[in-house]
Symmetry: C2
Subunit: 215 residues, 2 copies
DNA sequence: GTCTATAACCGGATAGAC
DNA sequence: GTCTATCCGGTTATAGAC
């Protein structure tokens, strides 16, 4: 489950050929296993032997496919951003051209939250790991995320220029607040809390209109 | 710096006598050092030797004051919630009795954000560590945080019952969204981003009124 | 490509001197 | 109370058989 994402869209996962050899598929199986375990146990709590077990092999065998634990983790994280970014771009492109900027913003919130809560272990693992990994990986990851951040900035800037959102608030504060609230959901969300779509709807409502009742 | 918080208000930090013996002060020095290092390096990245160095002693000496690494971390986290909760209660109590529920909510947002960004390494370390520590500590910590969560629920419920905030949104989604956005700030905030007060003002504005301009 | 075995390396924890 | 020295367990990483 949850392994239906396409790797290789950007970031650290970009250099591989698109082939589908046996080795290539094993490699993917390992990455999927790593994303799953990392998402659940975090960086400190994840042993290579845990990942190997889920992938159905011995810990030592991982080294045929990856040069180190760090390299494996870094690739999971690179894939994480790539997946969300790709889905977001696809979803935005699929909106009717007459969709308002507010609609586009709402769609972005929904996509990000669903990807992170339900769709991709890569995405949720990546968010969780951001504050846990060693400096080298972290730096690389921040570079990976630049394009994604740009997407959000664009969305907000366009909306503001069109007069669809307020002009008196700091754009980067807006972005940090929105994405922050979405990212933090990985810390508390359980499927019993209901479908991510419902939570996304409430979040959109709050982001756009706030808690104060319109009179 | 940043060591001006009062421990012992609640949670794991509660059993100690309020004394100020040499041993007591050393213990506090170690806790302060631990909070500082944990906040910066996270659970996985923090060595006992790092903490010892900051506290000005050898790693082995820590064991005179704490029974294990886990015990030390758990106490930092217990203090973290206690600090924020105490400050919040004090700030709310200091508001004029005629303050609106929305004002109280705004104050809560401000206090939480400032505590977490500028005032307390215990608070920021605690937030960062939540998703990183082993299950036993995590469980204990969730218990520690129950009272603090109750405070927020109360704040929102009162505001809703008074008709000061909308009745059509899930209360717990509101709480998760607000606190989540605040907590996530520890992941991105740097002092160059400006004073926490400014960020708090923008956050309050967004939470209360949303991004859509009032007509 | 994957296995088994083991090397090499920490880092937490303990013991005993001072 | 703190130091130095050391033990001990666990984990990454490597070597060589299959």
């Amino acid at each position: 489950m949850r392994s239906d994402e396409l790797a290789g869209a950007a970031g650290a996962a970009a250099e591989r050929p698109p082939g589908d050899s046996k080795s290539e598929r094993t490699r993917r199986r390992i990455l999927d296993a790593a994303a799953l375990v990392l998402r659940r146990k975090g960086y400190a709590g994840t042993r290579l032997s845990d990942i190997a077990k889920v992938a159905g092999m011995q810990a030592g065998s991982l080294y045929y496919h990856f040069s180190s634990r760090e390299a494996l983790v870094a690739e999971v994280m690179g894939t994480g951003v790539a997946v969300v970014q790709a889905q977001m771009q696809a979803a935005l492109a699929a909106l009717p051209p007459e969709a308002s900027h507010r609609n586009r913003l709402a769609a972005a919130i929904e996509i990000h939250l669903i990807a992170v809560l339900e769709q991709s272990d890569y995405a949720s693992a990546t968010i969780k790991l951001l504050g846990q990994v060693p400096k080298d990986i972290q730096k690389q990851q921040l570079a990976n995320e630049r394009a994604y951040g740009k997407l959000w900035r664009q969305l907000l800037r366009d909306a503001r220029e069109a007069g669809e959102i307020r002009g008196d608030l700091n754009l980067s504060a807006m972005r940090m607040m929105i994405v922050g609230a979405l990212n933090w959901a990985v810390e508390w969300y359980h499927p019993e809390d209901g479908p991510a779509e419902q939570i996304a709807r409430d979040f959109v409502e709050m982001v756009l209109h706030g808690l104060v009742p319109r009179r």
